[in-house]
């Protein structure tokens, strides 16, 4: 495994000077991802925070070839780039042994408007890595809810009020939807466990065919959290099993080290409150009248976690401590 010392020597391919908010989780994700590349790479990115903050004309924070694309077309663009590279190689117009292609999009650009292009690209079998950086909302346009926003989160289009407790629907299981596409590699990752994240980026690039990486990355602006706590919140999402880490290689599910440790020692699984408490988008849930939503979040987390354990062939020992 690569040491942190060696990582400091890797060039910053996503550079300083980008205009993300202080403490931005997706910006950390991009730095980490871009330090995990294996060779020449082309990145294409859908509209969203990370595109906007990195390429404000005339400045660019990208030290690799990078192509902006529309909100819904990250996977379609990646398909085209991959197909073009094949032709250029066949016609000997490029001499590279191989060029990796990465598509990047937020949760809005993936769960919602981009899913058709993504599903098509996966079905056609293009050789590329799709990275979803999930900040659980349309942050760039002012914190609207998406299919990736979790139950109970207050956003500008699911505002918590006296009657409505924030978003009333659950988070769509996007990574499972991608596993159902029968592609060679699907994984979840978190900036809080950056070694695991970087190893998964590598694996996603190495497999032949489509790979999908779901990266959880807190947004202090939209989650109304302390900018200093971005990494801590990322770890808590994993430690509460709100966002377990796993990978599915050729459709076979397996837990990643931290989540496996929790599966084997269920008393390490933290209650969801500790995670929710750190984010003011959930603050209203701590009023007595909305406490039942916290229970619903816990129950749903447990249900999904137990389902995941089954898929990973791990006996169900997990009992939540609430």
């Amino acid at each position: 495994m690569i040491t942190i010392k060696e990582l400091t020597e890797k060039p910053e391919l996503f550079t300083a000077g980008h205009r993300a908010c202080a403490g931005c989780g997706p910006a950390i994700a991009l730095r980490q991802i871009m330090k995990a590349l294996r060779g020449p790479t082309i990145v294409t990115e859908a509209t969203g925070c990370m595109e906007v903050v990195s390429t404000i004309y005339p400045y660019t924070a990208w030290n690799v070839p990078w192509v902006h694309t529309a909100f819904e077309t990250a996977a379609a663009n990646a398909s085209g780039i991959e197909a073009a590279l094949k032709v250029l190689k066949r016609k000997k117009r490029i001499t590279h042994e191989h060029v990796d292609v990465i598509a990047l999009a937020g949760d809005g650009g993936t769960y919602d408007i981009g899913i058709q292009a993504l599903s098509g690209a996966a079905e056609r079998g293009h050789d590329f890595l799709y990275v979803l950086y999930d900040n659980e909302g349309y942050m760039n346009t002012g914190i609207q809810r998406s299919g990736g926003t979790p139950l109970g989160a207050s956003t500008t289009t699911s505002p918590a009020g006296t009657v409505i407790p924030g978003k009333t629907q659950h988070k769509k299981p996007i990574a499972d939807i991608m596993v159902a596409h029968d592609i060679p590699y699907v994984a979840t990752a978190s900036i809080g466990y950056w070694q695991d994240l970087m190893a998964k980026v590598r694996k996603g690039l190495e497999v032949e065919g489509p790979a999908f990486l779901h990266v959880m990355a807190p947004c202090p602006r939209g989650w109304r959290s302390d900018t200093a706590k971005t990494m801590e919140i990322s770890r808590l999402a994993v430690e509460t099993c709100v966002f377990p880490l796993w990978e599915a290689v050729n459709g076979e599910y397996g837990l990643s080290p931290i989540s496996k440790a929790i599966a084997l020692k269920p008393d390490r699984k933290k209650p969801v409150e500790v995670y929710l408490k750190m984010q003011r988008r959930f603050a209203h849930l701590f009023q007595p009248k909305f406490q039942h939503i916290i229970k619903e979040i816990q129950d749903d987390t447990d249900k999904r976690w137990n389902r995941l354990l089954k898929k990973c062939n791990i006996p169900q020992v997990a009992v939540s401590k609430t």
Binding site: G17, G23, A27, I28, Q32, T55, A228, T230, M231
Partner: protein, 95 residues
């Protein structure tokens, strides 16, 4: 040196960005500044990999980490993550 903004005839084709973002300094957004105590620092380099702004780099010559205050936005992640508690956030202009 001041530079006249380019007109539409001179800008790059398709509006391709042509200046490195590092020409744009985000350090003046900061209201708190991370200050490290070199005596406490174990040079574990964790802060390098958790900074959203690539503002902490390893300097090979001095064999030490270096904060780049041209870019540091003062989020405080490095101070929060440092296991040795070597970094404190100090209010800017409050010396």
């Amino acid at each position: 040196m001041s530079q006249q903004p380019k007109g539409w005839k001179e800008i790059s084709i398709a509006g391709v960005c042509w200046k490195p973002a590092t020409d744009y300094h985000t350090g003046d957004w900061r209201s708190f500044k991370p200050v490290r105590d070199p005596k406490k620092c174990t040079k574990c380099l964790l802060c390098h990999i958790v900074c959203p702004d690539a503002a902490i780099q390893w300097n090979k010559e001095t064999q030490d980490i270096e904060f780049n205050y041209d870019f540091c936005k003062g989020c405080g992640i490095c101070a929060n993550e440092c296991g040795a508690k070597a970094i404190v956030m100090v209010q800017e202009g409050g010396e």
